[in-house]
Each structure stands twice: as structure tokens, then as C-alpha cells.
């Protein structure tokens, strides 16, 4: 089974007459809130300082987004 990821892909129709170089794989985000339902008790937490930087206390909801430029420099998923 493929490894679970919060970034999904699909292959749109590509025409031989596309005026710009075709983007063959498109991606979209499925954030963690789609999968958790009502938050269960006793989920793992960040410590206070990590939580401030992450924007959440709960590890399960942490899902940083990297821009196109950052990805080119090797950041992100």
C-alpha cells in the first residue's frame, strides 16, 4: 500500500496543442482535520515552545505548507 500523505495527485488531460508546457501531475492538499473526526483524548502534544512555532499543541494537526520556491530549494514534502 502506498505511504499515507496529506498531498494528493491527479493527472489532468493533456492536449498535444497545449500552448504552455503541460503540467502532467497536479497536486492538492487534504489537511489533517479531514481525518480525525472528534478529537480523541490523550493525543501526543508538542511542548509549549514547539507548539507556539507550530501553531498547534497537537502533533496530529501539524501540517506545514511549503511554497513552490521553497520546494525548489529542497524544503517540504
Amino acid at each position: 500500500m502506498a505511504k499515507f500523505t496529506l498531498r494528493k495527485q491527479y493527472r489532468p488531460y493533456v492536449s498535444p496543442f497545449d500552448p504552455c508546457p503541460s503540467i502532467r501531475v497536479k497536486t492538492y492538499v487534504t489537511p489533517p482535520n479531514l481525518y480525525v473526526g472528534f478529537q480523541p483524548e490523550k493525543l501526543p502534544q508538542f511542548n509549549a515552545k514547539q507548539a507556539l512555532f507550530a501553531g498547534t499543541l497537537w502533533k496530529v494537526f501539524y501540517d506545514p505548507y511549503y511554497g513552490s520556491e521553497e520546494k525548489e530549494k529542497g524544503g517540504g514534502q
Binding site: L52, G55, G67, E70
Partner: protein, 189 residues
Amino acid sequence: MWVYEKKLQYPVKVSKCNPMLAKFLIEQYGGADGELAAALRYLNQRYTIPDKVVGLLTDIGTEEFAHLEMIATMIYKLTKDATPEQLKEAGIGEHYVNHDRALFYTDAAGNPFTATYIQAKGDPIADLYEDIAAEEKARATYQWIIDQSDDPDINDSLKFLREREIIHSQRFREAVEILKEDRDRKKIF
């Protein structure tokens, strides 16, 4: 009433003089899915929603004003020292002739803020589903701004704001579960 703490929810640092970013960021200031729309939407819906979820709308609506303040700080820092020529090159000459460097509630295309961006239907499920959609749209807007931005410090703050939208969406989804009342008693975290 509110208690004001004179600091930002998360630090805002701007490392590059790039006024064009201000043009993009203003989408989250006075745009349809921006922080002002979010704050006004939630704080207004509170009056006609079951007691169990009023506190959630107060908390999140209040936090949206803290986000608005962060966006305002970014826009202010990016434009306060820019020359009229730089502002024109950045595509905000139109803003300058109307407002100088003052902030104003518009979207990235210059459309002024309007209450038609938000809704209060009085139906708790309809309102909460709108709120969930609003959070996902705000999350997506942050993604597209991060894609357009070359400023690592601004991106750091934008990532924080985007993560908060994920949490808000989660909490609104839980509010729907509470109103459905079809599960065993649950604790709220």
C-alpha cells in the same frame, strides 16, 4: 468585552523590501476569505447558535482579529518606507492615490470590503458549514500567498496563520458533531 494584550499572537518579521507582497497580503486583510470577514462572521453568528458552541465562535472570532493585526503589521512594514515609484511598480499605485500608505480593507484586486462576503443564516448547521468552508478557503489563500512569496520570514508567519486555519476548521467540524448529538458524551479539549 475584550482584554487587549499589546503584542502580536506570533512574531512578524519582514526581511525583504518587496511592496508587491503587500498587494497579495491585502487579500487576507479585506478580501472575501480574509481575517476581517472571518472575525465579523463568527462574532455575529454567536447570538443565534446553540449555547454549546457560542464559546467556540467567541474564541475563534477573537483570534481572527489577532490574525488581522498580524497581516496589518506585514502590510505596514512592506509599504511604510516604499517610494511612490516603488508602490506604482508593485501595482499599488491605485491604492496610493486614494490612501497614501494607509491600510484599507480591500482585496488584492482593490475591491472594497463588503458585508456580502459573510452570512448569518440562523440555521446552526448551515452557519457552521459556512464557517468550515471559510476556514478551508483561508487556508488555501495562505498557500497561494506562500507560493507567491520570496520572503522566508513572512512565510514563517504565514505558515503559522495557515496552521491556525486547520485547527479552526477542526473545531468547527467538532461543533457540528456536538450539535448532531449522536455520540456518547465527549470532552472538549
